[in-house]
């Protein structure tokens, strides 16, 4: 009998009131998407910035020179990664790695910066991807050579930078390459690798850097793409601090350093010891230390603010949905008053009538929520797939690319909770008009029109 009942219901009611059914389903779809997609964005941001940093298990810090910039404005910060690693540079102990930034803005006060970039793999969407920086786009397929021959690089230079570029070389510097680069290049310990960048403007031309692979390092606990401060650590090349200074101390200022201590306790001490080293060569510069905790807090705050905003958005859309369903149910019930009368005259109880409306509402609601959930996740899939063409920004601005870092599994409980809430709200808002209708005296329902 239930089959007949649902057939009659669907045929007579749901189908007949297609407009209502459709608009409610569309509302549910939009609300589900409005819930799932922003949530996924926050999850992506959180994962990218906060969890990635936390995954390091270290307390990294940035040491800034001069006025403290907005650390997120990394457009003006370009990096060379180098390693303390104590057998290479004995000056600092207890440090896992160091990443000094070089500030070139003093030479070309625009965004078209000449840059020496080592250790950032552009294919992961890191800083190298912008503007003139393409000139040092070394880590793609052909800009480095494992065997030390320059021929291919030279021809590439001709096409990329023009014919009369002068190539400078820096001499062989020991380096430790990240596991990502190791895999890209298939470079083993002892091999020489090359990298090119613009030379300092005072020299002009192209600078060749020859690096000898002294070791390969892998940060195991880091998800492959997650990085610290926008860097993919596993794709960095690390060179000794002293070599860095030798290379750049004529024209370039060390703008900042990323350091990472192996534990939280000694981070202050390490920060101070780095500052004291830097002070020796750059005595007139003031330094500011920002720890990773600070970074996490900043981004946590940003995400929390967004989540709070999103909660308001959710509540608002729930409220609007409730209102629309309420009104649509009043209209539907009014239109079907006579049918209610017929049904009651043929034996339907108040409860039966109530159940007819509520089960119909339930049907539409479940359909809407299921379709909405599917479209939400489909949309997410599309965004996160297509977002791989966008680089990850270095500061928390809107970017589709964060969707790549969304933890889909973490969305499931949210979606259930969200869908169930919507379901309950939908039934509650349909309840009152349906209940009122079910309470009418049969003859009054029959005679309404």
């Amino acid at each position: 009998m239930n089959i007949l009942k649902s057939r009659l219901l669907i045929k007579n009611d749901v189908m007949r009131y297609k407009g209502r059914t459709l608009s409610i389903i569309i509302i549910f779809i939009s609300i589900m998407i409005l819930g799932i997609v922003p949530k996924a964005l926050y999850s992506g941001i959180e994962n990218y910035y906060v969890n990635g940093v936390k995954a390091l298990g270290t307390n990294a810090m940035i040491i800034y020179t001069g006025n403290t910039p907005n650390f997120l404005d990394i457009n003006q910060i370009y990096g060379i990664s180098f390693s303390d690693i104590s057998h290479i540079d004995k000056n600092i102990t207890g440090i896992k790695y160091l990443t000094p930034f070089i500030q070139f803005a003093s030479y070309i006060p625009s965004n078209n910066l000449d840059v020496v970039t080592l250790g950032v793999n552009s294919s992961y969407g890191n800083i190298i991807n912008t503007g003139l920086l393409n000139g040092s786009y070394w880590s793609s397929n052909y800009n480095y050579s494992v065997n030390g021959t320059l021929t291919k690089i030279g021809s590439n230079l001709n096409t990329t930078f023009g014919k009369n570029e002068t190539v400078y070389e820096t001499g062989i510097i020991p380096c430790i390459i990240g596991y990502g680069i190791y895999k890209d290049m298939n470079a083993s310990v002892g091999q020489i690798i090359y990298s090119f960048s613009f030379a300092p403007p005072s020299i002009g031309g192209i600078m060749e850097v020859r690096l000898k692979v002294a070791g390969i390092q892998q940060y195991r606990n880091i998800p492959p793409i997650i990085s610290s401060f926008g860097f993919d650590i596993n794709s960095m090349i690390t060179i000794p601090l002293l070599s860095t200074v030798t290379m750049f101390n004529t024209d370039y200022h060390v703008y900042g350093i990323i350091a990472s201590s192996s534990n939280f306790q000694n981070s202050t001490a390490i920060g101070n010891s780095i500052v004291s080293i830097l002070t020796k060569s750059h005595p007139d510069i003031t330094y500011t230390i920002m720890t990773q905790e600070g970074v996490i807090n900043t981004i946590d705050n940003e995400v929390n603010a967004s989540v709070a905003f999103n909660l308001i958005l959710n509540a608002l859309s729930f409220f609007i949905a409730a209102l629309i369903i309420f009104v649509l149910t009043i209209i539907a019930v009014k239109e079907r008053m006579k049918e209610i009368g017929i049904l009651k005259a043929t034996g339907a109880t108040k409860y039966d009538i109530l159940m007819i409306f509520l089960s119909e509402q339930m049907l539409i609601t479940v359909a809407g929520i299921v379709i909405g959930t599917l479209s939400g996740f489909l949309l997410l899939h599309v965004i996160s797939t297509s977002s791989s063409i966008y680089p990850v920004p270095y500061y928390p601005t809107f970017s589709l690319s964060y969707f790549r870092y969304t933890d889909i599994a973490s969305l499931v409980p949210f979606t259930i909770y969200y869908g169930v809430t919507l379901f309950i709200i939908s039934l509650i808002s349909a309840f009152y008009p349906s209940y009122k209708a079910s309470c009418q005296e049969v003859v009054d329902s029959l005679h309404s029109d």
Binding site: L8, E339, A345, T346, G347, Y351, V442
Partner: protein, 271 residues
């Protein structure tokens, strides 16, 4: 077999009072016609005592019914006649439990209706009464047979009685099973409505001007069906009409005027 045992028990438990009526008295009368004689006939099936219905619209007070006293027995064929506005519909609605009197007592098998809960009344509407309206009141989207089946949705005894082809045969509409109301003539629509009224095998059929929208030839066909139901199926029939021809089929005529009974042929015969 009819209804899962626990479910049935649940119903019995919940609406004790009514279940007693349905399964012990009316249940037998209306669902198994062969057992009519087993029913205790010492009391009247339907009894209205001083029933009034008053509508108050602003300052106007309309007495739709005034002090109505009627007894209705099993197997009667009653025609309620009177001019338009005399209260025929109101009376039928009250008898059929789709309206409530403002005053007076209405009892079914000596149990007073005002004490019934909504579910009890719904059960009686489902199983004791079958309604036929002047305007048919069919669901436009449903086919004839689906319309006929609508009351079974709410019936607790449909498992045995769910014989839609049978009732459609009785109403002589079994040749239009899959037609929608819009594809049927007025007479055919009314036959569907009659079949629908019969689907739960009610003891009492209440028809409010069932031929009001039909031509006289069709009206006669419809009345023959009612006659057949009364004589062969032992249904109690109550028809409101202002058509002489229609009332001629009845065994008893109750005449209303301005909400009062001005003539009851049964009373006349008895006195």
């Amino acid at each position: 077999m009819l209804i899962p045992h626990t479910f049935r028990k649940g119903i019995v438990y919940k609406i004790d009072k009514i279940r007693v009526i349905l399964w012990e008295d009316i249940g037998q009368v209306c669902s198994m016609n062969g057992y009519v004689n087993t029913v205790n006939k010492s009391h009247k099936m339907l009894k209205l005592v001083n029933v009034s219905k008053v509508y108050t619209i602003g300052k106007d007070v309309i007495h739709a019914l005034e002090n109505i006293n009627v007894d209705i027995d099993h197997g009667e064929f009653i025609s309620v006649v009177g001019p338009s506005g005399s209260g025929k519909s109101t009376l039928l609605h009250i008898i059929g439990l789709i309206d409530i009197p403002t005053e007076g007592k209405y009892s079914i098998n000596e149990r007073e209706v005002s004490t019934f809960a909504d579910r009890d009344k719904a059960n009686l509407r489902s199983e004791l009464f079958g309604f036929v309206f002047q305007d048919f009141y069919l669901f436009p989207r449903l086919t004839a047979i689906e319309n006929v089946l609508v009351p079974t949705i709410f019936s607790r005894k449909n498992a045995i009685l769910n014989n839609s082809t049978n009732v459609m045969k009785m109403a002589k509409i079994d040749n239009r099973i899959d037609h929608k109301p819009s594809e049927l003539s007025g007479g055919e629509k009314q036959r569907v409505a009659i079949a629908r009224a019969l689907i739960n095998d009610p003891g009492v059929i209440i028809a409010d001007e069932p031929t009001g929208n039909l031509d006289s030839k069709t009206a006669e066909d419809i009345m023959k069906i009612f006659k057949y139901l009364n004589q062969k199926k032992k249904k109690t029939i109550i028809i409101a009409t202002h058509n002489e021809l229609v009332s001629s089929y009845a065994d008893r005529i109750i005449k209303l005027k301005d909400g009062k009974i001005v003539e009851d042929s049964k009373m006349v015969n008895n006195t």
